[in-house]
């Protein structure tokens, strides 16, 4: 039996560099979980339907099960672990989208949640103030078998609110400093 060739791959994930050795056929989802140890990215259907493995590649949501790790060398990757904001504590502060899921009971078993969080984080960057219809459209590519989606839609709208409040505070601070 011949040994499968391994490729040296340098992955940029959540601001850190991970040097991994993987066969060409290693899916990016598996590389993140097994080679980088970042198990926040969940693997459901493994053929691009369920959305659980969604990550951000150069800021845009992409299915990590539909990319090869070797093909991700030139990309900046953000996984669900990278959404938390640094506030000096070891666990960090929940991002607006994560906080909204907590507030609105946007998850039950949590399996699909990492894919929703990454998708919505990018979605709100493109559309910071979505209507309920747009919130549904934003999450149309992700499957959840627990919630019936109602609370996830609420979470999208709540996350937009929280983001708006934070923006308002920052704006206020800037104006105070100027004033």
């Amino acid at each position: 039996m011949t040994t499968e060739q391994l490729h040296d791959v340098r992955l940029h994930v959540n601001g850190s560099v991970h040097e991994v050795q993987v066969p060409a056929r290693r899916l990016l989802s598996d590389a993140l979980r097994h080679d980088c140890g970042l198990t926040g990215t969940h693997v459901g259907c493994e053929h691009g339907v369920c959305g659980a493995c969604t990550i951000l590649v150069d800021g845009a949501p992409v299915r990590s099960c539909l990319m090869l790790a070797v093909s991700a060398v030139d990309s900046e990757i953000t996984t669900v672990e990278g959404l938390t904001e640094d506030d000096g504590t070891p666990q960090g502060r929940l991002s607006p989208v994560q906080q909204a899921f907590s507030d609105c009971h946007g998850l039950q078993c949590g399996f699909c949640t990492p894919g929703f969080l990454t998708t919505i984080t990018a979605g709100l960057r493109d559309n910071p103030d979505p209507s309920e219809e747009e919130a549904r459209e934003m999450i149309a590519g992700n499957l959840c078998r627990c919630t019936g989606y109602q609370n996830i839609v609420k979470s999208v709208l709540r996350a937009a609110e929280i983001q708006g409040e934070i923006q308002g505070e920052i704006q206020g601070e800037i104006e105070r400093e100027r004033g």
Binding site: E4, R25, H47, T54, V57, A140, G141
Partner: protein
């Protein structure tokens, strides 16, 4: 659900990619991978080598030209669906491109999948092959033997089968511009938005004043290749004319009967929308 082993190459130039492809009979080209990677994972495809073209320069363009016969939208092999969809210029020059792209899978898939890749994947259930065929566009392919242009009418050989030779890479697609006085429309029925359509229909209508001078309809997911039907001579009953040339197929998603029913429902609706579109554009073009 893991791909079988394959050799991997990530060339930096098109010449290098073409030489590698010519030298390896079992090689496949990887661009967006949104169709190829599931096929690998399900082991429906097991190429001996993947040639990853994502590092090639100068293939990510979406450009429009307004001169002569070449008026239209040019899309490079690495332009993602999302990038093409976002181009206001492309939507202006050929509105059907945006109309159809908004139905291609989900935004997450469109962020990685390429329009040219979708064309040469030649899925009869996909939107863009049918659109290219309806618009009488073309695909430019390159190989170590040179470069050639394949008209859309000659591109689709069968289910998931294009007429590209094994050593050819599709480098650019061309969608002709919408002429003044012409109109287009697109509609599809899917169980959920973003899923594969059970039936999709696009129409391309040319008018002269109140007269429809040419009317053609494109169908996806009905037969096992994208089909275009000219209904100019059958405007009173275009659905029957279309069904005479279509062979609706049974699969797990819908019966052939149900597909025929959807063709009857969608055909007049989409044709009317394209005719309205043509008239509204003709109205705009008249200087007041």
């Amino acid at each position: 659900m893991k791909p079988a082993p394959f050799a991997y190459l990530r060339p930096a130039t098109l010449e290098e990619a073409l030489a590698a492809l010519a030298g390896e009979q079992g090689a496949k080209v990887l661009a967006g991978g949104q169709s190829l990677v599931p096929l690998l994972s399900m082991r429906l495809a097991a190429p001996s080598m993947l040639i990853d073209i994502n590092a090639l320069p100068d293939l990510g363009h979406v450009t429009t030209s307004h001169e002569g016969d070449a008026t239209g939208v040019r899309v490079g092999a690495l332009a993602r669906h999302a990038h093409v969809l976002a181009s206001d210029e492309a939507a202006e020059v050929q509105p059907l491109v945006r109309m159809a792209l908004s139905h291609v899978a989900h935004p997450t898939i469109r962020n990685r999948g390429t329009t040219v890749g979708s064309l040469v994947h030649a899925d009869a259930a996909a939107e863009m092959p049918m659109v290219l065929r309806l618009l009488e566009g073309s695909v430019d392919v390159a190989s170590v033997r040179g470069r050639r242009t394949i008209p859309a009418a000659e591109l689709f050989a069968g289910p998931l089968e294009s007429t590209l030779a094994h050593d050819e890479i599709a480098v650019e697609a061309f969608f002709p511009a919408l002429a003044p006085g012409a109109g287009v429309a697109f509609e599809e029925i899917a169980r959920r938005h973003g899923d594969y359509a059970l039936v999709g229909v696009a129409a391309h209508v040319e008018t002269d004043g109140d007269t429809v001078t040419r009317a053609r309809l494109g169908y996806l997911s009905v037969s096992d290749v994208p089909v275009v039907v000219d209904v100019t001579a059958a405007l009173d009953d275009p659905a029957s004319a279309a069904l005479a040339e279509l062979e609706p197929v049974d699969d797990i998603h819908a019966t052939a009967d149900y597909r025929a029913h959807l063709v009857r429902v969608l055909t007049p609706r989409v044709l009317a929308a394209a005719t309205d579109h043509a008239r509204s554009r003709a109205g705009e073009a008249i200087p007041s």
